[in-house]
Symmetry: C2
Subunit: 250 residues, 2 copies
């Protein structure tokens, strides 16, 4: 995970949230992505700390700050960003797409504290809430269904903050079989094809090269190489011993 | 929104989902991000189509395909990708980070159909489910809390599929005031500073340039220019008419 240099400097601020399960879901996503500072302003249900949706994030939820005003909740932050589903609300604020907004937030986290605000499920952030914001950020949802579930919106925003812009392309792939093992398989397969009469039916000069290329295109995983070798050896053995049902023990 | 060229070719496949609210949440995220094909394999609760969590996605949920085997659910897809929280499960599959996996899925959607599999909330995808997959994809969650809520995981994966790798940097910002308006404000502010005695206290030669640079650094929004001009004019007026409490009507 490529976390911002100072993930502890980002506070998720949930304003006037109605459903405590959504507060728990936000806490879970924060824990998934490595953020720890949750602040809650005037939640509808004061028993939100028991939300069972905060799987793996009970401690984070227990440590959440509760505030009665947004001004108090963001008082120590040098950048306050509001989230909105709306594109142009005749607001006095710039609205940035999440991809670009997250880039600016990451940069600011290197030197200062940032508050990321989410409004209530029904009404979003009020105009008064918005007046505390330096700018707004929107998740690029479709015009036909712009409004996201709160817990999902928090997860998507935090993911964008920690995503790696340049992941290694070959990371965590399984190892491919080395050339020598691929060649052994090719030899036995060629033998099997010859003994099956498959190669006789095709009167081409470069049949061996064709089989070699065919096997190379499989991109055989190393861990499967012995299995494939065994399969083709068994086939060759069966051609030579049609009277036996299984090869003798070695 | 920068959608994949053929979002209709991506099917979200939910395998053995226990909580119908999670199926609804997945449907909502699909609708938010422009995907329409939902397939459900052996859901725990067969009444999932009534899930109230599918806000704005009731039709999508009504049209979901229900299958009794995973093989049937992915039969028409040329790429089958399983999601997993686990990094190295001693699997016979390459595991790609979401950022890289989504890139490959987008590319494949240009020419063929792709299935994106999510396992049950408790157990994820079974080994039998995984044997249907070409490779696996993982969301880069923290080692300490790798497991995401199902609806949040679906939202994050689909967001990564539609996110714009190069959003316009200045998009949707508010317009800045043009230079002429900024200069008028600068002039009146300079006048106010001079009449207040502020400039007399600093014996520097380039005080006008200093004020000009100071105002430029504000990045004044166009819509606020008249307000600021009015504020400084009022200040200058008050210096000249200390006996009045307000300027005469114009």
């Amino acid at each position: 995970m490529v976390a911002p240099s100072e993930p502890g400097r980002l506070s998720v601020v949930l304003v006037a949230t109605r459903n405590p399960l959504n507060i728990g879901a936000a806490a879970r996503a924060m824990s998934n992505f490595g953020f720890s500072s949750l602040r809650v302003v005037n939640p509808y249900d004061s028993a939100f700390r028991e939300a069972r949706s905060a799987v793996g994030a009970a401690e984070l939820l227990a440590n959440a700050e509760e505030h009665t005003t947004l001004a108090a909740a963001v008082g120590d932050c040098s950048l306050v960003v509001g989230t909105t589903a709306v594109r142009h609300r005749h607001l006095r604020h710039p609205v940035r797409r999440l991809e670009e907004g997250a880039r600016l937030i990451r940069r600011r986290l290197a030197t200062g504290s940032v508050a990321l605000l989410f409004g209530s499920e029904k009404f979003g952030l009020s105009n008064d809430d918005l007046s505390h914001c330096h700018w707004l950020m929107r998740i690029p949802t479709r015009e036909e269904n712009i409004s996201m579930n709160l817990g999902q919106a928090v997860a998507v925003c935090l993911y964008e903050l920690i995503r790696d812009p340049k992941p290694p392309r070959a990371a965590e792939k399984s190892m491919l079989a080395p050339a020598a093992e691929v060649e052994r398989i090719t030899e036995v397969l060629t033998q099997a094809l010859r003994e099956s009469g498959f190669l006789d039916r095709r009167v081409v000069g470069d049949s061996e090269q064709r089989v070699r290329r065919l096997v190379r295109r499989l991109r055989l995983p190393q861990e499967d190489a012995i299995m494939w070798l065994g399969i083709f050896r068994q086939i060759v053995w069966k051609f030579r011993h049609p009277e036996f049902s299984a090869p003798p023990e070695e």
